[in-house]
Amino acid sequence: MMPVFFDYIFPSALVPAFLYGIYLMQSPRTALRGNRIGALCMFVAVALAFGQYRLFEEPAAWAAMVVGGGIGLFLAQRAGTIRMPQLVALFNGVGGAASALVILACLGTLSGETGWFGWFVSALALAVGSITFSGSMVAALKLEGRIPSPPLSFRKQTFLVRWMLYSIGALAVLAVIDNSLVVLYAVVACSLLYGVLLAMRVGGADMPVIISFLNSLSGVAASVSGIALGNMLAAGVGALVGVAGMILTQIMCRAMNRDLLTVLGGFSTYKASSETVETEVASTDDAAPKPSMRLTADAIPAILREAGKVIIIPGYGMALSQAQQAVKDLMDALERGGKDVKVAVHPVAGRMPGHMHVLLAEVGVDYDKLFDMAKINHEFPDTDLVIAVGACDVMNPAATTAEGTPISGMPILKASEAKAVIVCNLNEKPGYSGVENTLYKEPHVITLWGDASETVPGLTAALTQHG
């Protein structure tokens, strides 16, 4: 009776509870409760595991729990919202490492009688766990600025990345056929190296894709280690994490007009480079606007005062210059003037999915004012003023007008359709994609180059002095 309870009944009963917790994450009103339900489920699962394996009188188990729990709380308490991508990347890696270590600890139980499936699953868990670990550590260091962020790729790297992947597969097959532990260690070594190569070539604005992907892999690693050691709950919950990461990866890839292989594997179809890509936008260059028609910075107070409907577009530059509070102040000032103010968020703005939302929530921006691209894009034509803060590629019209660039075909926020646009970016340099932003040249666009934490308060001052 007891084995049946621990092996089948209790996992089948707990997974619906975990799912209910995730279900509550569908709304910001219930998400906090959802998270707590998840925590409670985890507590129950761990308490039952302590009972099942009779660990209550095992001081080493308690010590490991306390040390790990303490480190986790410390890391979570210390992290600010800007550094959230690093923290999630770090946790991804820690999860992958934990799964790989579990399999390593149990390698002694593998033998010639284990059967091919046991060996295969162990090899898979070791490979996925190791890739997740080393890849996430590189991603976290890049986000932290310890490693240069533009994609580091040398000429032969694409070849090397593919070759590494093939050899991991070949070694795994060899381990299954040969029942050899030494080969499994080789799988680990190759996987660690592969993870590093994989993450090294991904940089800057591609980060949301790789973080989501590694998030998925950390779940897959947990799931496979659960399968390898016959733990139903770990197998099932790990699969949930794997699926969640995959969904986010899909959304991120679609929002950047890339497929996963392009970002990860170097199976690229265009020449990715940090140099400026020549864009051929005949229309805007030929029809050079008359100087008299071009809006200038002198017009800003009037534009701000007269605008009825304002949309703000934040980008990663806002986070870099710590201008979130300034944006919130500007929003408040505009609303005091009776204006309709909304924030338009592109899915890949920031360095991880949902990054902008958290940054703005932290300074107290009402989440009902944050709109996703699909919901707000039709509103730009009847918007009087768009204020972009540290955003570039996500509103570059070249994505739809030019062909053969990294962002061609990428869905963008249609800022240029508004009556006037004020751009508060650091400089006129292209965004991460390297594609020149044709929006800057349009006559109804005013560009304010400089630190957004200075230019945005300037707008607020211009509004309040005259208002």
Binding site: D7, Y8, P11, V15, L19, I22, Y23, M25, P28, A31, L32, N35, G38, A39, V46, A49, Y53, L55, A60, A61, M65, G68, G69, G72, L73, L75, A76, Q77, M84, V88, F91, V94, G95, A98, S99, A105, C106, N215, G219, A221, A222, G226, M232, A234, G236, G238, A239, L240, G242, A244, G245, I247, I251, P353, G354, H355, H357, V358, D366, D372
Partner: protein
């Protein structure tokens, strides 16, 4: 040891399908907390690590490896939940709760 392979694989498939339905409906607004929440869930490896600790000879090298796995999985569990809690507390709306207007 543990559940039979057939049940395990079937269970994984069922979880993946149900999970897909529910997780795909989480709005972009909550994608960052979703990810950190998933960090906590990936700490479910803790269960496997606890089992591994029981099966290994105390003091053996593999026993220490299992202990290390417990530490790492536990970092994910507490860290993931706490950072998600902190983030979700930041999300506020005036609808139904505002009193300054």
């Amino acid at each position: 040891m543990g559940a039979t392979l057939f049940v395990l694989l079937l269970f994984v498939v069922v979880c993946a399908v149900l999970g897909y339905k529910i997780i795909a409906a989480v709005p972009p607004l909550l994608h960052t907390p979703l990810m950190s929440g998933m960090n906590a869930l990936s700490g479910i490896t803790l269960l496997v690590a606890l089992a591994a600790l029981r099966t290994q000879e105390p003091g053996a090298f593999s026993w220490y490896v299992a202990l290390a796995a417990i530490v790492l999985a536990m970092i994910n569990v507490t860290g993931g939940y706490w950072v998600t809690e902190r983030m979700l507390r930041m999300f506020k709306s005036d609808n139904g709760g505002g009193d300054d207007k």
